[in-house]
Symmetry: C2
Subunit: 394 residues, 2 copies
């Protein structure tokens, strides 16, 4: 019984194939035209020779913060991380943030751009408690097949807001896949204190850690070292991620080499949103050290910034272009980071266009994956776990 037959699609420039989907998984990949289209096929979609990519994985989002779908909100905050935090605290209630409706609206934008799996940070603080986590889970449930993991994220600080560490503990107990943190030095003024607390929660509950680290240069690099030390000491190999990690791109090559080697050995990964105006994380150096890299859209149209459109492929292009990548192998590497290799950030299920993989498939009108990356054409079909979430083929 084939639940879904996606017929006549191309994989990276090769001859067209048919993808057979059963129970949310790719059951078979066969040459186009050789599939028997019989009564056992519940649904058949004609891919019309379009290019197929694995579903995009957004490894760093903030789907709770967005005001997508509401009238334009003029940005009026002060610059800097602290200015943006204050602006958000001041205005979010009147905008009804977080809400199921706005989280659902921004997830819809992500899905129609080909994202089939999301790791999203969700604000946890003294004002909201854990309400945001419930809101986001409920919004994601509207998209059957979409995978979503949450990071309980202390946007307003941890130690500087007594009670937040306990909230993170409760979030982990309630099933949050990861606990987050934020610039332990510059925000909490106590890097050891914040990190010790987060690692303690992760060790006790068996969840992951996904730490926002904007702190740059030596201060940021020092905190990366603190993370490395605790990951090893507590045996949290493969469960820790550094988001942004600008410092890794900023320090000199020798120190970066040492940091990346230590991270790679402990399975500490990184996520980037390919920030404009800052040096990019060097993909080849992370690869050489075995440091997994995920791409993310960051906040989308929220009280931090009016930018963002939910297109993870656009972020991949931005990373590639800002990194000066032009050769085919380098461009393909970025496509893989945005698709196949993103799976490790959302539960690790294999996500590729081969039999046995989760059926996360995106069709678009492109010559090959490199063309898709540099041109980011509209997504024509988006399938997640065998479910059609977006269909612009007809």
């Amino acid at each position: 019984m084939t639940d879904l037959l996606i017929a006549d699609v191309r994989l990276g420039g090769h001859a067209p194939v048919d993808l057979h989907v059963e129970g949310g998984t790719i059951a078979a990949v066969v040459p186009a035209g050789t599939s028997r289209d019989d009564a056992a096929t519940a649904r058949r979609i004609d891919g019309a020779g379009l290019l197929a990519l694995p579903g995009l994985v957004d490894t760093h989002a903030h789907v709770d913060k967005s005001w997508w779908g509401r009238p334009w909100q003029s940005y009026a905050g002060e610059p800097g991380v602290q200015g943006r935090i204050a602006h958000e605290r001041e205005r979010r209630d009147e905008l009804g943030i977080p809400s199921v409706a706005t989280s659902r609206a921004v997830l819809a934008e992500m899905v129609r751009h080909g994202t089939t799996a999301v790791r999203t940070h969700v604000d946890v603080d003294l004002g909201l408690g854990l309400r945001g986590l419930e809101v986001v889970r409920e919004a994601a449930a509207s998209y059957d097949g979409l995978r979503l993991e949450v990071v309980a994220f202390p946007q307003d600080g941890v130690l500087r807001r007594p009670g937040v560490m306990e909230l993170l503990d409760r979030a982990a107990a309630a099933g949050a896949e990861h606990v987050g943190g934020l610039d332990p030095a510059s925000i909490d003024r106590d890097p050891v204190g914040q990190l010790d607390g987060l690692f303690d929660i992760a060790a006790r509950h068996g969840c992951g850690i996904d730490l926002h680290l904007h702190d740059g240069g030596d201060l940021g690099a020092f905190q990366v070292e603190l993370v490395v030390e605790r990951t090893e000491r507590l045996g949290l190999q493969g469960r820790v991620n550094l988001a942004h990690g600008f410092a890794v791109a900023q320090v000199d090559p020798a120190r970066r080499h040492d940091l990346l080697q230590a991270m790679g050995a402990l399975g500490i990964t990184m996520t980037t949103v390919a920030p404009l105006g800052l040096p990019q994380l060097p993909v080849a150096e992370l690869d050489a050290a075995g440091v997994g890299l995920g791409l993310g859209t960051d906040g989308i149209r929220d009280l931090w910034s009016p930018y963002g459109d939910g297109d993870l492929l656009g972020i991949a292009r931005q990373l590639a272009r800002a990194s000066g990548l032009a050769r085919d192998t380098d461009l393909q590497r970025v496509v893989d980071l945005a698709t196949r290799d993103g799976a490790r950030f959302v539960g690790g299920t294999t996500q590729d266009l081969v039999a046995g993989s989760r059926a996360d498939v995106v069709l678009l009108d492109a010559e090959n994956p490199l063309d898709a990356l540099v041109r980011t054409p509209p997504r024509r079909l988006v399938v997640a776990g065998g479910r059609v979430l977006h269909d612009d083929l007809s």
Copy 2:
């Protein structure tokens, strides 16, 4: 007699209007629903409440170089300007570059993204002579209403290739609106010699100068000063443009202030392609000094780089975001640079959505111009000089 009635469109969030077009010009802007739709209206288009923007102006393109529409070309050049030049010389003939077909293909991409006027550099060198100029003029003639100005561009150097200065002179005599130049110091190794030659041509033929200046820091700033001195000496006020001008963004604020003041006083403009990985030209400082700024797409999918999609609004977004602009007035300023204020780079005709302006109009589904900038939605209708060049409304 109304040639074209574009009914029910919104201008920047105000009440909907009808745009009456006569003879390529906006004849009247009246409240929506008050236009008499009679036999005197040759064509009526229902704008369905979409947002209207003035046509986008691409002030720095290379439409002769592209391989758009051909199969994917793997990039294989060495890094740096010289490596790219060599790679291009090596492969352009086999790809049939320049050709009317590929120039037309890339112009089509620009037009369907809302560009209604283009200033394009066109390679002039010992191999091609002036053939590229004819090719590009012929390609542009396919798009009735599209304005196009050419810069005769010595991509491979001027003085270092004896005979090229004479080619530029012939190009100016044959009607090229501008002569170009390229890094007089780092490429020709003789900044005074190249600039003196270009300024002599411009003074004799009455054409403009549009100089590529990648040279950074002090070396670039010195060449800006040489340009300023010659502009004043030869009375070429308002006829000189600096493309890229990375040095202006790189030097310290005091020196930048002096450079910009001198440029502003002489009507020397700048064009930028909002390069990723480099500091952006500071819009507010250019405005304060009265230095006009145009935006461009640069090369699109050519032997220099596989990137580029012809979307000038995407470049505007890139400039805004990489500059950290978030407030409404700053975002609107960038929209104006990409549309209304671009007109000075292509002949100076007024280009705004008011009576008396050239009828260059773009419709898109956005709440207001700021929303259009940060989200760059598809262009639904593109009208240039009253001619419909792209229509995705039906």
